[in-house]
Amino acid sequence: MNAVAVHTSRSPVRRLLGFNLLSAVVLGAVGYYVGWWLGHQIHATSLDYFGDTSQNDVALFLAYFVGTIGFLGGLGLLNYPLSRMAGRPASADHHEEDHRGWTRYIGFSTDHKVVGLQYLIGIGFFVFFGGINAMLIRFELLRPSPNVFPAGQYLTLVGLHGTMMMGMMTSGILGPFGSYFVPLMIGARRLAFPRIEALTFWLLMVAGVFLTSTVFYGGFPTGWTGYAPLDDQANMGMDSYIVFFALVGISMTLLAFNMLATVITMRAPGLSWGRLPIFVWSVVATAVLNVLAAPVLVTTLLLVLLDRTAQTGFFLSTQGGSQYLYENLFWVFGHPEVYILALPGFGIVLELLPVFARKPLWGYRLAVAGLLGVTLLSFTVWQHHLFVSGLNASLRPFYMLSTELISIPTGFIFVCAMGTLWRGKIRYDVPMLFCLAWVFNFFIGGLSGVFLSDVPSDVTTHGSFFSMAHFHYTIMGGLVFTFFAAIYYWLPKMTGIQLNDVLGKIHFWVMFIAFNSTFFPLFAVGFLGQPRRVVTYPAHLQFLNDWVSVSAFVLGASMLVFVANLVWSLVFARIPAEANPWEAKSLEWQVPTPVPSYNFERIPVIDSDPYPYGEPAPQMPTPALTPAVTPTGR
C-alpha cells in the first residue's frame, strides 16, 4: 500500500480546527439557532396562526433541518459532493490508509470496519437509553394508580421507549454487522458507497439526539405510531418525533441501497448467489424491505409536517383528509418494519447454527426461499393492525389469510434451524446459547401471533398487553437476542479481544430467564383486559404487573452484566482473541485479526459455500494464496 500519512502531519491546533466532531457539534448548534431564528422570521412576516403562544413548529423544524446540515458539514461529509459539484476530479481518499488512530472512531470515516464499530457503539448507547425508559415505565406500573410520573410524562416515556427502540434497532444489525462483515463475507475490499455509509451512521446519531430533545419541548403523546389526529393536537415535542423518524427513514434507505449495490456488484469471483452466506441473504432481503418501505414513512412524515405547519389537512378528517390514510400509510411502512427487524435475526441464527453444530446449513435453498417469501408477503398484511378500525371490513378475510400465510416462509427458517441441529456436535458457547434462545422466544412470539392474525381472537387481544407481549417476543426475543449472539460471535474479530466467557454465560441466563419472566405474564395481563399504554390499571392486575416489573428490573440488570463484561474484557483484561476462535469456515474468519485496511491482500476466489462442516474440504478460501482476478478497489 502506498499509504500517505496526511493526517498525522497536522498540528494539534490544525486538527482541532478541521472537519471533526467538535466542528460538527459547533456548526450543528449554530445551524440550529439559525433555523430557529429563520422560523421566527417566517412566522412574524407571513403566517399568523401561532397566535400569542410560544409554540412555533416552523422554527423547530427549520432548527432541526439547518442544524443537521451544519453538523454534517462540520464533520466533512459535504466536502466531497461540493467539490465534485465544483468540477474537481474524484478524490482518491479511500485508497489511503486512515492513520488517525482512535480518533477516526469519532469522525467521518469511509472505512466500513470503522463505521461498523461506530454503529455498534452509537446504537448501543441509544438502545441503552431506550431501555432505561422501559425501566421507568415498569417502575410506574408497580402500582395501579399513578405512582411517580404524571400522565403526560408517562406517555412521553412510552413514546420515547418505543420510538427509540424501533428507530435504532431497525439498523441494529445492518448498521454494525452488515457494514463490518458483508464486505468481508463476500470478498470485497469496501462497501459500494463508503461516504454514504458514513452518512447513514451520522444521520442516525443526529436523529437520536433530536428524539431525545423532545423532553425540552413537552414530549409527545402518541407512542411510536404517531396516529393522526392526535399528532396534530400535540405540542412541539411531536416535531422531534417527526424529524427523528424521517431521518431514520432516510438513513435506512441509503444504508439498504448501499448493501444491495455492494452484494450485487462486488462479490468475489466464484461467489455465486447459491454460495452466498445466509446472513448476507438476510441482509439483501432486509435491504429490499428497507428501500421499499422506508420512503413511505419519510413521505408520510413530510405530510404530517405540512399538516402541523402549513395547515394542510392530509390526515385531518375535519379538513377533508383522513386519519385512515395515516393509519394505512404508517402500517404500509410499519409492518415491513417489523420484518426489517426480524429478518437479520433469522440470518444470524442460520449463520451461526452451522458453526456451533459443526454441520452445513440444512436446507439452504429453503432458507433463502423463506427469507424472500417473508419479504414479499410482508407488504400484503398491514391491515391486520386495523382489524377493529372500521376500515375495509370486506378485506378482513384477505388480510387474515395473508397474515397467516406469512407463517409458512417463517416456518422454513424454523425447520432449517431444526434440521441444522440434527446429528450435529453442538457446542454450547455463548453465541450459540443466544441463538437457541431465539428459537424458543420466536416460537412463542410466532404462536402468539396466530391469535392476533385471527380476527375473532384479535378483537380481545388487539391493543392490549397481549399484542405488546407478542411483539416483544418477536423483536426483543427475536432480534435483540440475535443482536447479542452477533456481538459475542463477531466482537472478537472486530476488536481483536476476547470477551469473558463466564460473564457472557451469566448475562445470557439472567437475560433469558428474566425476559421470559417479564413478557410471558403479559400475555395473561392482556388476556385479562389491560390495554396498552395506560398509566392506570384495574387493582386485581397488580400482582401480575408487579411480577412483570420486578422481572423487568432483573432483565435490565442483565444488561449491566453485559456492560461489565465489555468494560472488563475490553479495558482491563484485554486478552487477545484468536483469529478464528469458533473454528468457523466462513470467509470473514479467514482474514487476520485485526482486519487489514483493505481486508484482502488479494481478492479470494470462492469454490464452496461457507458451511463445509463435516465434509473433506481441502480447498478452503485462502486469500493470501489465491491470485487476484479483479481490479483493486473491489
Binding site: P221, G363, G390, V415, D454, S457, T460
Partner: protein, 257 residues
C-alpha cells in the same frame, strides 16, 4: 393427545373474554380451537429440541464434526405441506367465525356480517376522555353510563369527536375503533345481566389511561325502567342537543398554537 384434551376441557372454558355475550363466547371457542391446534405442535417441537440438544451435544473437547446433511427433500416437502394445510385451515376457520356476526369487532359503516332479526341501536360517542352513549330509538337520549337489556341483539355505532379511540367492552367481547366522522358498526348479542368493564384501547392523549368505566347488562323490565327515568332527566336538556346522526363533525380541533 392428553395435552390437547386438557387444553380443550380444562383451560378452554377459562380463556378470555368469558361468555358475557354470544360474540364473547364465540371468541372463547376460537381461542380454544387455536390453543388446541397449537398444543400438539408445541409438544412435538419441545420433544424434538430436548432430544437434539441432549443427544447431539459435543462431549468433552471432541473436535469431530457433525454429519454433513444438507437437506432432505421429503422432510422439506412434508413440512411445507403440513404448515400450508394448517395455515389454510386456520384462515378458513377464522373467516367462518368472523362471518357469523362480525365476532364483536368494528366493521365500519358497511358491515359484512349482519345478524338477522331486530336490533337495538346504541351509539357510542368517544371523546377526550370519556365515552357517552346515545339511544336513537329513545329520542336520541344521551347518557354517561352504558346500560343494555339482557338477551338482545345490540347494534353499536361507534364514533369519535376528536382523536382515535377504541371502545373495548371486555366482557362483551366488543372492540371497535372510534374515528371522527366515521360510523363503526358492531353487533353483539347480550346474555345474562352482569357488569362490563369498558376501556379505551387506542392511545388517545393525556388521560387515555383514565378513560374507562363500567357498563351494566340488566333485565328487560329494569332496562325499560332505567330508560324512562333517564328520559325524564334528559327532557330538560334535549333541545340543546344536536340531533342524532351516525357521526358528528365538531369545529376543527387545532392546537392552541
Amino acid at each position: 393427545m392428553v395435552a390437547t384434551l386438557l387444553v380443550i376441557f380444562v383451560l378452554g372454558p377459562h380463556l378470555p373474554p368469558g361468555k358475557g355475550s354470544a360474540q364473547a363466547a364465540g371468541q372463547v371457542t376460537d381461542n380454544t380451537v387455536l390453543t388446541a391446534i397449537m398444543t400438539p405442535i408445541i409438544c412435538l417441537i419441545v420433544v424434538y429440541f430436548a432430544y437434539v440438544l441432549i443427544v447431539f451435544r459435543r462431549r468433552g473437547d471432541d473436535t469431530e464434526e457433525g454429519v454433513a446433511i444438507r437437506g432432505n427433500p421429503r422432510v422439506q416437502t412434508l413440512w411445507i405441506a403440513g404448515t400450508s394445510a394448517l395455515v389454510i385451515f386456520l384462515a378458513g376457520y377464522g373467516t367462518w367465525a368472523l362471518l357469523q356476526s362480525g365476532s364483536g369487532g368494528g366493521q365500519g359503516p358497511a358491515p359484512i356480517a349482519v345478524p338477522r332479526g331486530p336490533k337495538l341501536p346504541v351509539q357510542v360517542i368517544a371523546q377526550q376522555w370519556q365515552f357517552t352513549y346515545r339511544y336513537p330509538t329513545f329520542g336520541g337520549l344521551e347518557t354517561s353510563q352504558l346500560v343494555l337489556p339482557a338477551d338482545r341483539m345490540i347494534e353499536f355505532h361507534v364514533t369519535s369527536l376528536d382523536a382515535v379511540h377504541s371502545f373495548w367492552a371486555y366482557g362483551l367481547g366488543v372492540k371497535a375503533d372510534a374515528n371522527l366522522g366515521t360510523d363503526n358498526v358492531v353487533y353483539v348479542k347480550t346474555r345474562a345481566p352482569r357488569s362490563v368493564d369498558i376501556h379505551c384501547a387506542e392511545l388517545c392523549g393525556l388521560w387515555h389511561g383514565y378513560m374507562f368505566d363500567k357498563g351494566q347488562i340488566v333485565s328487560s323490565p329494569a332496562f325499560v325502567a332505567w330508560i324512562g327515568q333517564q328520559q325524564k332527566v334528559f327532557r330538560s336538556i334535549a333541545k340543546y342537543m344536536p340531533p342524532y346522526r351516525t357521526s358528528y363533525a365538531p369545529m376543527p380541533q387545532r392546537r392552541a398554537g
